[in-house]
Symmetry: C2
């Protein structure tokens, strides 16, 4: 096992605490996947006395000396937000050879080009999966997995707050102000919702997406931006009448300019979308990004766009990757990374069954059939009798079970097949996703 | 610039040809992203005389000596399929220190554990993004981006042929045999459809997904598998009556066994799903994988599951990654990788507008309004007049334009705002995704 990888946390709010807790609770798992232990050398905060029990960090791990902390770290995780001092600290970390992970979309949108360049000059890892579309693994696929393809266009719903508002307006017919107030009460919108509803948050993400998808360097200042404040219930109704829904979109497209040269068009604005489009069905505060490429065609990535745990998931994926690079150059994680979990037989699977039976149409049959299930400990969720056929004297039964082991369900079906009152077991299918 | 990376192609069918052509046509782009040129040193085929113009390879690049070719390569791209000699060649490549990229799901399903171990022992890259869900960047996100999270469950529609059949049955009410015949005529199903309809293809993919998602080693032989041949139109109808749709699912879940120990349950079978589930709306031959994790929550990846170009996209992403590892240890690709494309102003964007106008309700107004658009060179796609209000003498007009530059559209709207017949421009929204 290699030397510990020294990790510095900048900021310890909701996401930072979730990251710190996970790194400690699953220390063994991280060590196995990385090939070396991760050691949190400290968390830089503004006030060391503020209690943060949810971080699982001890009091002496907090410091106000962010710069001193960064100087001792192999990996710096920046979750403080804002432009300064985050920018300065990250540049400092990079120049001292530390890998950097951040979820700071504002900073990346504003100063991305400067940071990308600094990371490259220093030859350090610089990851920010959490900065766009929260937990959705999107940036690495876009930049790495599609590196042999050519992206034509990225169309994203990348702001959960505005999607929640527009979705609610679409479903209830309410006016924006009322829905915004509700979103604030539910915690989906900030007290000052400007960054979301004016599209600034989406604009920063559009700049990041365009930079990655087109291997170029785009800053927020180059992104045209319109928010949703002008959208009325009348607009939503008019859209609905023509089979459309209104979404706030971040659009990054590769175009050919008037001289025939390649250029980018990057913009954020509300737009009508046909209800049949995959993005149209993205509800509530979810995010989704639709990618069109030359070879792959149409791809979509979908998931939660915000929240402490989802954002921590993205940050921690970046941490593992950067730490592995540091330890072993990014290659295989070593045998110990394998959990080696045993694979169960199907009989142990907990599933639900949908069963279609043909039975004799006479009193007492339902109870008889139900008894067969009960005897095997399988609980019935619903039982519905179809139309009885007077010509054959038989009726159809549709049954759906609660979850049980597949073995118990299979035994039940075997018993039904030879049951006197059951003419035929017409169909046995599992039920998933309920 | 570094030495060229020597690439060997094993197999040169539809996917192999697409890969070879792209590597040659975009040689400069690949070189910039990798930091060294890629050199195709040859393609191993069974018959060197068979013409393959779509590969853009010259006659003398084809060879029947696959083993000799592998011995000279830095990267081996295996697209021949089948178990042998693919397995032997890949083990040979790994032991001689070459990175390996394959789309061979059958081989990975069957001999994955042996190959994963061999790659690790040799310390070489071993990538197979194309083996599951074709073009969808899925395996790297699952294995790398979620490495700090814990996957609970992966539920995938990973076989396009069976999804095409079940979707068609659901939409038309037809019987499986008829739809299968149609799928064969359309090229969505093979002449011998066994591997698809019996679930064997999905089973191999389930083994690969389980291996990656749970950092363990699962082979096809451990995966319970049921195909779709028993599904009848009556099943589809019964599912539909209760708000369900039938899909062939590959399910990999982490479970706790009777002794309280962690275990995996990996299975392939048709199942009823509620129509509200994100997977239920996956139509035709598309693939999608739904992932549930502890921190990120619910994620979905969606895209084409097969086809020459989509599969080539996934293979080429792996090629870039493996080649970069070889050249620079996987870090930043060097300044030259940046396309540095200029970002256009919004005025140059080609968009469509939806415009809601309030106009005087009298003859000739429509023509007047239409003239304003015409004068700016903006073509109207549709124009619809709402109910006229006799009390105000005004009517509402809904217009949708064809694509035009945003500048021309903005000028048109400016003219409408001051037009004598237009009382108000109530709303101007862009239209996307049509």
């Amino acid at each position: 096992m290699s030397e510990p990888v020294r990790v510095a946390l900048l900021g310890c709010g909701v996401v930072g605490s979730a990251v710190a807790r996970r790194l400690q609770e699953r220390a063994g798992e991280f060590e196995a996947r990385i090939g070396a232990p991760l050691q949190i050398i400290g968390a830089a905060v503004r006030d060391v006395e503020k209690p943060r029990p949810e971080s699982s960090l001890s009091h002496d791990q907090f410091t106000t000396d962010a710069k001193g902390l960064v100087a001792r770290a192999d990996l710096v995780i920046e979750l403080m937000g804002g432009l300064e001092p985050a920018r300065e600290l990250l540049l400092h970390a990079m120049s001292s050879g530390a890998g950097v992970i951040t979820a700071n979309k504002l900073l990346l949108g504003e100063n991305g080009p400067e940071l990308y360049e600094a990371a490259e000059r220093s030859g350090v890892d610089f990851y920010y999966e959490a900065a766009v579309a929260g937990a959705i693994p999107l940036l690495r696929p876009l930049h790495v997995s599609l590196a042999g393809d050519s992206v034509h266009r990225v169309t994203g719903i990348v702001n959960g707050t505005t999607n929640f508002i527009l979705d609610k307006m679409d479903r209830t017919g309410a006016e924006l102000e009322d829905v915004l107030r509700e979103a604030q009460e539910l915690g989906y919108a900030e007290t000052d919702p400007t960054a979301d509803v004016e599209g600034y948050d989406a604009r920063a993400k559009a700049a990041i997406l365009a930079s990655l998808a087109f291997h170029t360097r785009v800053s927020s200042r180059e992104v045209h931006c319109e928010g949703i404040m002008a959208i009325t219930s009348e607009d939503i109704r008019a859209a609905r009448m023509t089979g459309h829904v209104i979404k706030l979109l971040a659009i990054c497209e590769r175009v050919t300019d008037a001289d025939g040269d390649a250029a980018l068009n990057v913009r954020v604005h509300p737009a009508l979308m046909p209800r049949s489009h995959p993005l149209a069905s993205v509800r509530e505060a979810y995010n989704a990004v639709f990618v069109q490429t030359e070879l792959a065609g149409e791809l979509m990535f979908y998931g939660p766009g915000a929240g402490g745990d989802p954002t921590a998931s993205a940050v921690l994926g970046d941490v593992v990757q950067a730490a592995r690079h540091r330890v072993s150059g990014g290659r295989g994680p070593g045998e110990s990374a394998y959990a080696g979990l045993p694979v169960q037989s199907i009989g142990s699977a907990l599933t639900r069954y949908f069963i279609r039976l043909e039975v004799d149409d006479r009193p007492g049959v339902l109870a008889q059939v139900a008894n067969v299930f009960g005897a095997e400990g399988v609980s019935i969720e619903s039982m519905r009798q179809g139309v009885a056929r007077s010509d054959t004297g038989r009726a159809t039964l549709h049954l759906v079970t609660h979850e049980a082991t597949d073995a118990a369900l299979a035994r039940t079906v075997d018993l039904l097949r030879v049951h006197d009152d059951v003419t035929a077991v017409a169909s046995v299918l599992r039920v998933e996703g309920a």
